[in-house]
Amino acid sequence: MITGVGGQGTILSSDILAAVGLAAGYDVKKSDILGLAIRGGAVLGHIRWGEQVHSPIVPEGRVDYLVAFEILEGLRRLDQVRPEGMVLINQQQIHPVSVSSGLAAYPDGESADQAFEAAVERVYRIPGLDIAQELGNARVLNVVLLGALSATLPVEPEIWENVLQERVPAKYKDLNIQAFRNGRAWMQERI
């Protein structure tokens, strides 16, 4: 399950994730919830790989991998992850307008951490934006996070990189491949 805020590139990453599954020989289904507004709303993608996949929706409480592009959105979907599952959380806060207009508060770091720890043993807090910005382009955040996820899945990195090359603009191919590798390397050092 991929979650984040509109404009962060979550849709492209769920497209890539589904295509990688197909290229690796799995049956695949993917479902995106596209919000009313293009930017600023919560975005959610369900991706399933398997021998035979019926429903495009991941069953409630049975998510194996949650990739959260943003902390609040990660918390929002945390109850969908099974206890043996894994949470990859990009260390970024994007304040919704409900917070800036004073109607609600952004969860504080401590209670967020407690919730993540209570949900699963395997929580990885990824400085995704920092890794992307080291490459000079914050927009490759989505590929950095895919790289991190790839280190935990049984698919050869060549398959990932082939799909990436097909899906990203030619101009940014090298940048995206590097973002993927840096994300993957970050994760490999920690698992």
Partner: protein, 593 residues
Amino acid sequence: MKVLLSGNEALARGAYEYGVQVATGYPGTPSSEILENVARYEEIYSEWSVNEKVAMDAAIGACYAGKRAMVAMKSVGMNVAADSFFYVPYTGVRGGLVIVVADDPGMFSSQNEQDNRQYGRFAKMPVLEPSDSQESKDFVGAALELSEQWDTPVILRTVMRISHSASPVELGERAADDGSPTPPLKRDPHRLVCTCVWAKYQHPVIEKRLKKLAEFANTYPLNRLEWGDRSLGIVAGGAVYSYAREVFPEASFLKLGMSYPLPQALIQELADGVEQLLVIEELDPFLEGQIKAMGIECRGKEIFPAYGELTPAVIEKSAAEAGILPKDAVKGARELPLPELAGRSPILCPGCPHRSTFYLLNKMNDIVVAGDIGCYNLGAQPPYNATDTMGSMGASIGVAHGFDIAGIPDRFMAVIGDSTFFHAGIPPLLDIVHNGGKSTVVILDNHTTAMTGHQDHPGVGFRLGGAPAPKVEIEAVVRACGVTDVHKVDAFDVKAVEQTFKAALDFDGPSVVIVEGPCFFVGPGATRAYAVDSDACIACGICFKLGCPAIVRSEEVNAKTGKPKAEIDPVLCVGCDMCAQVCKSDAIYRVEE
């Protein structure tokens, strides 16, 4: 070769492979990507029509001319098109005619949750429902074949979860067009002129056709008996079939590819072969009612809700409550010690031209606002809380007129977007002028059909695929409707918009204000970002009332009031300048490079 396609991409691919020559529609979530993808095939003429009814009539005309035609729209678009598709079963078709409708169970982006299978029965035409992307493609071919064989339009009904989900599809090729020119129209007024004198002879033909189709449904390969465990039989089609398969992998199924008319013999066979028969369908008890009317015992809506998506989780919970599944089979979302989670509703984007209007309508809070369908419907949400009504495309102007003739003492206005004005706003504006109404109508002209993904409309100067088109000026249309008090104002000049609203509201007669400014996504793009001078900021909070995602709370507070000062996120800010205009202490400035 198998490729991953969304349901909407697969529907477009089906139009290509099965020889559709004309495709029309009006954008609406979750259907918009169908025509956008059809437009990539130059073999097919495609257009965004001005509304669904025009799209329907244009597709019908093309089919009378012998072309294979597709028309695509969202759930509620069917209501706009209905007047037209009700006559086609009477006239019959020449080229195949497939009406693609994308329903929205769960109401992700619609004003109601209508079940458009009902229209098949109501207008007396077959309904097909694909369960994944492969079927979405295949069923376009099946629908065209049915249409031509049975001389009837065919509804191909998808739902959000089919349209916006992707799964593998085997691609085929399009048969080469023979290149012959379109022949002159074969005239046949006794069929094609639906006057009562002639049409009444067609009604018995339709009834006979439906009976034969119901018989044919028993052997139609799209309806499939799948025998499994005989203790439980399930009738399901479309998206729900995949959910039900997930929850009951061992059960016996009748998988319905055609949900109207129904294959009675197959249903009977399943009922006879199992201990218990369930009908699992989203929204209305459409199948269940008909199956019960056949005298076949089954259970459906007594167990499963008649609203929302019947996701595997909902099916599982409902079935467990009814004792069909053991209680411990239900996992569900986990109970976790979560902090309070701030909501993240969709919001007007940074740089949105609608922001000034709703900021002002919130400020002038005595004004009753009849709203309409589009991004500007977000004006009903905090922090604006400005919009009082919203119901359907174009309704704002008629509803405001209703306030007028009812004599409400409040000041009031209608607020409608440019694409919606062309779609359904012109007749009610004419009505106001004709009947001496005095409403104020605000047209938010952002040069695009924004909410559904920036499709063209008659005012933008290009058509689907990007070819140039005549640009219809809204101001000229409004004046041609007979409105004399017409104002045009720059959406990014907050003070000017305020003054114009006041002038129009004060005018003793119908007024139109065109608030003009491009949607950020079709405009010139970002300029330099703005920043807040923290020393100058007095933490009055006015800029927060703009509801801009780029304006966030600073850690710094006003020492006297304890209120948070403002900060601008330089990544999100696109430099629209509105915050600098409303700031009373000149604390917001443009960052020099």
